[in-house]
């Protein structure tokens, strides 16, 4: 996997988006470096990982942070880690909805104060992942491999 440390302006673009969309302050990410692959997938890593990746051929790494092409798409994995710091565009799900979301279903809202775009789905204190809200429908953005039936919530 070919990786590069992203440019300053790209880092700014990502952090601006997260602050603007979710109210995630940039200082939360101050210790992290961002590496990008040629497809625009950006990973959050520590300094040691970034240095190692510069000089060595690597097969894969974690944590997938955002996908950056024309738009920026946050990953569910990243939101599970940092989403509890968000102050806006967070949707609290009922138990039944949370079960459906984790299973991979889309969610339909009757009303919401969130604007259309990416939203954080929460159940109690748990950030479940990312959804895409449009006209009252939340498209499930959980990767297929991470979806599962949950009996105990």
């Amino acid at each position: 996997m070919k990786l590069r440390v992203i440019e300053k302006n790209e880092r700014k673009r990502i952090l601006d988006f997260l602050e603007e969309r979710f109210g995630l302050k940039r200082n939360i990410f101050s210790n992290l470096l961002f590496l990008s692959n040629p497809k625009g997938k950006v990973f959050a890593v520590n300094r040691n990982v970034a240095e190692f990746a510069k000089e060595n051929e690597i097969a894969c790494l974690s944590l997938p942070f955002v996908r950056m092409n024309v738009n920026i798409k946050p990953t569910s994995v990243m939101l599970q880690f940092f989403g509890n710091y968000a102050t806006k565009n967070v949707i609290d799900l009922e138990k039944k909805e949370a079960v459906e979301f984790i299973k991979g279903s889309d969610i339909f809202l009757s009303s919401s104060e969130c604007s259309d775009g990416y939203v954080i789905l929460k159940y109690q204190d748990f950030v479940l992942g990312c959804g895409l809200l449009k006209n009252g429908k939340i498209k499930n953005m959980l990767p297929k491999a991470k979806r599962m039936p949950v009996e105990f919530l």
Binding site: N48, V49, F126, M148
Partner: protein, 311 residues
């Protein structure tokens, strides 16, 4: 209880070294208890336990590891905690190798660690949690198809100090690079019989001997990748002396090293054997430990901690 036919040769081999034959074979036929580890990269221990207990789960703590638990509930994999990566379902003995370097990792997180045979990532993610996402873990696996599950677990558990590489560890080009190396070597997996009886369909002394040959190459290479004063943890999930004590004997003959005594509070441990098939082992090898299934109701395991000493 499942009726299992254990090959005569298998019995002949291990009747010589096991302390209680009846109990050993009885436990081999029993299913393993459901066990898990709390992932402190993402979860608060007390909150997690409280929630699981509120679901009616009976949890049993382990005196030798504050984050390890057994449960009566088969469906632990259907919990929100499992989905979130707050817990990781892991066999108890598999938690032991990272524990042997826990204190050293927690004291100095800025270290370089190699997990030589990492997939599916149980031990890698445990190391990552001990290091609080600092330092560097190079997680290697020679099989490309096994990297997918490794990647899945790294993401799910929130590891940000790990890179995965896909190499045959015997041919890695670095030299004296790592402070700690975990070599959980590919083995005949006899110690996993309680969860997978198919192990016996492939079992033969020929397989054991060919794996022993591979393990000897791997352990010497891993030792050479260690910095001076670094530690190599060698482990397998097999009872076969050819894959355990004989591999350590090979390393002691080839390189300058010392073994360290291992202790796990409240866990009954078996001694490494002193000789096998007429070959007497170096006295250092007595510091390695055998975990027998009937001693603690676990799978079978072998662990040694080897320190690289001054040339």
């Amino acid at each position: 209880m499942k009726e299992v036919v254990i090959p005569k040769k298998f019995r002949e081999r291990y009747n010589q070294i096991v302390d209680n034959k009846k109990s050993f074979y009885e436990f081999l036929s029993k299913p393993l208890p459901k066990t898990f580890r709390i992932n402190t990269l993402k979860a608060d221990k007390e909150k997690t336990l409280k929630r699981l207990e509120a679901h009616g789960f009976v949890l049993k703590s382990m005196p030798w590891f504050d984050l390890a638990f057994a449960t009566n509930e088969e469906r632990i994999g259907s919990t929100l905690e499992h989905f979130m990566g707050h817990i990781y379902i892991q066999e108890l003995v598999s938690m032991l190798p990272p524990l042997t370097i826990r204190e050293e990792l927690e004291e100095n997180k800025e270290v370089f660690v190699l997990d030589a045979c990492a997939a599916p990532g149980s031990k890698t993610t445990q190391l990552s949690a001990f290091m609080h996402n600092e330092g560097l873990i190079v997680a290697n696996d020679a099989k490309f198809e096994r990297l997918k599950i490794l990647k899945h677990n790294l993401e799910k558990l929130g590891c940000m100090n790990v890179v995965a590489i896909n190499k045959d560890v015997r041919f890695l080009k670095w030299c004296e690079t790592f402070d700690f190396i975990l070599l959980d070597a590919p083995c005949s997996s006899e110690g996993t019989l309680r969860k997978n009886w198919n192990v016996l369909t492939k079992w033969s002394e020929g397989l054991i001997n060919s794996l022993s040959y591979l393990q000897k190459q791997m352990i010497v290479k891993c030792f050479d990748l260690l910095k001076e004063e670094g530690a190599l943890i060698y482990s397998t999930c097999t009872f076969a002396p050819e894959e355990n004590e004989c591999v350590l004997q090979h390393l002691l003959e080839k390189r300058n090293c010392k073994l360290e005594t291992l202790k796990f509070k409240g866990l009954k441990i078996g001694n490494a054997i002193k000789e096998w098939k007429g070959v007497k082992f170096d006295s250092e090898i007595k510091k390695a430990v055998r975990i027998w299934p009937h001693h603690n109701d676990t799978g079978g395991f072998f662990i040694a901690k080897i320190r690289k000493v001054e040339k």
